[in-house]
């Protein structure tokens, strides 16, 4: 940043201006002079990047000192360019008033050169220092935002990497998890629009969507002979398969650092995405809205995605057929509120799928 090197002296009395000029005759600063408020404002506008300090008389023709200060406030100069008020006499009221208007300091006539130069120097340094601290702070804040953004990106990358491990092993369609994320987001936004009373913030929705990617993470603990079995599972095998909800939670618990929101969504979604609204799901047999809404949402979109896509054991179903099956309770039971939200989101869910 260019160093400010100019003083603006504003006083209608020429002798006063000359005296201040002489005080700063050593050439460290360039001097601008104004004999009234109007001239002062013109010079301020033209030289606002160069002016380091303003000496300002209060009583002047053609706009007084107060009007000059007002102009500086309106144009965001008052916090950058310090103003030293020049006044004939010290009264508490006029001093308080000057400070209220944003004056950095007050000097009284007659001028004492040593005092005036010292004060001016101090105030210029003070403002330079403050402005540089503010700039520094601004820079740091930007850096902080940038690193936060990078951390978020790496988090998403890691979550995706982790969840793709399961897909990779289970030979499922590699896009299932990406679709579940997309559907989860669509459903949560419709949920928010439909049921204003249970609002989620954008940040919460983002966390839930990321958490949804991990819903089947526990499947990596299921042995190959069950996970990859082409035919129907025996009762025993099916019982083991159901445990992927528990295994997922156990894994999460191992690297849980502290109770936080994201962890909670991950845990709930891993554990409860096979619960049913009628209490006949697994692993805990939770009933109704004891099942967290984010787990209910992942549950329905997981079923939806399985139905509309081809699996080794079934052809893809049409959207109409899929909606009918879900509504008729052929693939689990869902709450009326969730089904209403599912209907509401239908168009978006379908178009999200065709966009791929």
């Amino acid at each position: 940043m260019e160093k400010r090197d100019t003083l603006l002296i504003v006083d209608d009395v020429m002798i006063n201006r000359e005296m201040l000029k002489d005080i700063f005759e050593d050439g460290e600063y360039k001097i601008l002079e104004a004999a009234n408020g109007e001239e002062a404002i013109e010079l301020l506008d033209a030289h606002q990047k160069e002016i380091a300090l303003v000496f300002l008389d209060l009583v002047m023709p053609k706009k007084n000192g107060l009007e000059v200060m007002h102009h500086m406030s309106l144009n965001n100069m008052i916090n950058i360019i310090p103003v030293i008020m020049i006044t004939g006499e010290a009264t508490v009221e006029s001093d308080v008033k000057a400070y209220e208007l944003g004056a950095a300091d007050i000097i009284y006539k007659p001028f004492e050169p040593a005092v005036v130069t010292r004060r001016a120097k101090n105030i210029i340094e003070l403002y330079e220092h403050r402005i540089s601290i503010e700039n520094e702070l601004e820079l740091r804040t930007q850096e902080l935002f940038e690193s936060k953004r990078q951390i978020e990106q790496s988090n998403i990358f890691l979550i995706n990497a982790l969840s793709s491990v399961v897909e990779f092993r289970s030979l499922e369609s590699g896009e299932h998890i990406q679709r579940v994320k997309k559907y989860t987001e669509i459903m949560l936004r419709h949920w928010r629009a439909l049921y204003g009373g249970e609002q989620f913030t954008d940040e919460q929705i983002e966390l839930m969507v990321n958490a949804s990617a991990l819903h089947d993470i526990g499947k990596i603990a299921i042995p190959d002979n069950i996970l990859l079995k082409p035919g129907r599972l025996t009762d025993e095998e099916y019982a083991e398969m159901k445990k992927h909800t528990i295994y997922g939670c156990q894994m999460l618990e191992k690297f849980k650092q502290e109770e936080n929101e994201f962890y909670r969504y991950c845990y709930d979604i891993c554990r409860y995405h096979h619960e049913r609204y009628d209490g006949k799901g697994y692993p805990d047999g939770l009933v109704g809205d004891d099942i967290p809404i984010w787990a209910q949402v992942v549950s329905i979109v997981d079923v939806y995605d399985a139905l509309i896509n081809e699996r080794v054991y079934k052809p893809p179903f049409s959207i109409d057929e899929t909606y009918r099956m879900i509504h008729d309770g052929e693939c689990g039971t869902f709450s009326p509120k969730l089904l209403k939200c599912f209907d509401d989101a239908r168009e978006d869910l379908v178009s999200a799928n065709t966009k791929q």
Binding site: D12, V13, M14, I15, N16, E18, M19, D22, V59, G88, K109, P110, F111, E112, P113
Partner: protein, 114 residues
């Protein structure tokens, strides 16, 4: 020479010198003082019975006199400034001739040395 001037008008030469650094510069300001119009503003306003304008003139003149260390003139100007500030125009009318006398004394003395 400048010192004698200050003695003649009951000013404070030491203060003036410390403020303006040297006689050359004091002389420059004495010239400026001749051009200053605040006394005229005060005198015109007194003539027109305009208390507010008279106050502005007196107030400016006071600041200038203090800067120049014209102690005697400064004292009477301060007095009339306060009277005008308090809107005691009758009192100010009585003070004004003394201001004029002191002012003229200073002006005459300046003319003598430059």
């Amino acid at each position: 020479m400048i010192q004698e001037f200050y003695e003649k008008i009951n000013g404070n030469y030491e203060v003036a010198l410390s403020r303006m650094q040297n006689d050359e510069r004091i002389k420059k300001y004495l010239n400026f003082f001749l051009m200053d119009e605040s006394y005229k503003q005060l005198a015109d306003a007194m003539e027109l019975n305009n208390c507010e304008e008279a106050f502005k003139g007196a107030h400016t003149l006071k600041g200038v006199c203090q800067n120049m260390a014209f102690t005697a003139l400064s004292t009477v100007v301060e007095q009339i400034t306060e009277e005008l500030r308090a809107k005691e125009f009758e009192k100010a009318k009585e003070t004004f001739p003394i201001v004029t006398k002191e002012y003229q004394k200073v002006i005459d003395a300046i003319h003598e040395i430059i």
